[in-house]
């Protein structure tokens, strides 16, 4: 209720629609009503983004001359000199130890494609919010006006002095693999491509628990991954390290087969003797992991899988199959969406990953850190709670980032990459 008088009432009604077209249909319906006057219509999502979503705040007040003299000139000069003489002190005397750069070239923004750097900025701002809210990390969006691999690598190396870690985001495959690998080799701060490893870690966590439910083991199941981009390749690599031995990957042309001549290095890594379509791959498979496109999976394909099939339809925002279509056919279903059970969401991983890496000043990210992170996420769902609608903790479970950070630190120390 906004206001009222004897004759009229003014009310705000908030409505969730299913699409832009649906929203327009609702507005038209209300406008067509007799005696009802539409005074205004607000798109709540656009309103939320106006002016941007984050800002920089000072930690200390600047009220007196003495504050200025210490925080800025001339006092700051003493700090600069101390760091120049002992570069290690940059970690204790500046923002570096708690600051992450979120770097993108805007070439693969969500599932929307190559939107460029400005088009990517709202996502990077949102990511910065998540870093702050879930792990207390100050992250800043860096959207680069280049999609050249060498230029990206050079730019990130040049800005690295400010940051304790680099989160690569929404950079298209296969360039993302080289950019990450080169930066990790050439810099002494952790580099993490969230689209690859964040997705892989949470997928592994969910799969660990899903397999417990169906009483199958990682080394015995046949897993089909649909989508051979950044996320698909990273999932395959991490599952392999976690003990999966029977992995088939598919791209838009079908199974990554030794017979194919169109595979890049990353795809060739997972080529198998079998060939055919996704439908062929799924016959008798135990697990479907989708990081592909809406509608790629059909009811018939699910019904051709082994008993108690596990289906993770993670294409976002529209999954590979509408979960309702196979409710009675699957043992466990997960999606990337918040409005279905079992949301496979990277936010379960990356805040804790960086919290742990920054706190122990890890010089690099290692596979053990990812495996331990996945194990930590999975372990937060205890055996009494575990059911087919609860295989991963909620993204709002306050234990998650702490548990992941602890696991990551332990792994970093065991791997000898921790400095602090």
């Amino acid at each position: 209720m906004v206001e009222q008088n004897l004759k009229t009432l003014v009310r705000d009604i908030t409505i969730d629609a299913a699409s832009t077209e649906h929203a327009e249909a609702i507005i038209a319906t209300v406008k067509a009503l007799d005696d009802i006057k539409v005074l205004n219509v607000y798109d709540r999502t656009f309103n939320l983004h106006r002016g941007g979503k984050i800002s920089v705040q000072s930690k200390i007040p600047l009220k007196y001359q003495s504050d200025l003299a210490m925080a800025y000139t001339p006092g700051v000069g003493r700090i600069c000199t101390a760091i120049a003489e002992d570069p290690n002190q940059v970690y204790s005397l500046t923002i570096k130890s708690n600051t992450v750069a979120i770097v993108t070239d805007g070439s693969a923004v969500l599932g929307l494609g190559n939107l460029g750097p400005a088009g990517a900025l709202p996502v990077m701002e949102g990511k910065a919010m998540l870093f702050k809210e879930f792990a207390g990390i100050d992250a800043f969006p860096i959207c680069l006006a280049t999609q050249d691999t060498e230029a990206i690598i050079e730019t990130v190396k040049n800005i690295a002095p400010v940051f304790g870690g680099i989160n690569l985001e929404d950079i298209s495959a296969p360039r993302c693999f080289e950019i990450e690998a080169r930066l990790q080799r050439e810099l002494n701060i952790p580099i993490f491509h969230d689209d690859q490893h964040g997705t892989a870690i949470v997928t592994l966590a969910a799969l660990i628990n899903a397999l417990k439910l169906v009483h199958k083991s990682m080394d015995q199941v046949r897993i089909v991954i649909n989508g051979a981009g950044a996320a698909g390749v990273a999932i395959a690599r991490l599952l392999h390290k976690a003990g999966a031995t029977n992995l088939w990957m598919c791209d838009s042309k079908g199974i990554l087969s030794h017979r194919r001549t169109d595979l890049n290095d990353q795809k060739r890594e997972f080529a198998v003797d079998a060939s055919g379509s996704l439908a062929d791959a799924l016959v008798g498979a135990d697990v479907f992991l989708g990081v592909s496109v809406p509608g790629a999976l059909t009811v018939e394909m699910v019904r051709s899988m082994a008993t108690d099939p596990i289906v993770f339809a993670m294409a976002n925002p529209i999954p590979e199959i509408q979960p309702e279509l196979v409710t009675d056919d699957v043992a466990v279903m997960a999606t990337g969406r918040s409005d279905y059970p079992n949301q496979i969401n990277n936010v379960l991983a990356f805040p804790g990953i960086f919290r742990g890496a920054l706190d122990c000043r890890a010089a690099t990210m290692t596979t053990s850190m990812y495996l331990e992170a996945a194990g930590a996420i999975a372990s937060l769902v205890n055996s009494a709670e575990l059911n087919n609608e609860y295989i991963v903790p909620s993204v709002f479970d306050p234990r998650v980032a702490t548990a992941v950070a602890g696991a990551v630190q332990r792994a970093a120390r065991q791997d000898g990459v921790a400095a602090g």
Binding site: I13, T14, D16, A17, T29, D35, I36, T45
Partner: protein, 44 residues
């Protein structure tokens, strides 16, 4: 592909003026109902 469920991504607020008479809000909610939108009761 079945259409997606209503979700906050496409959330809108409509400010309406209606006669101060019993049942008018119901007229609005009834009219919106067929498109299967989800109304947020906390904001009425």
């Amino acid at each position: 592909m079945v259409s997606l469920t209503p979700n906050p991504s496409y959330s809108l607020t409509i400010r309406i003026q209606l006669p101060h008479q019993a049942g008018m809000l119901a007229v609005v909610t009834h009219a919106i109902a067929p498109p299967e939108a989800a109304l947020d009761p906390s904001t009425w």
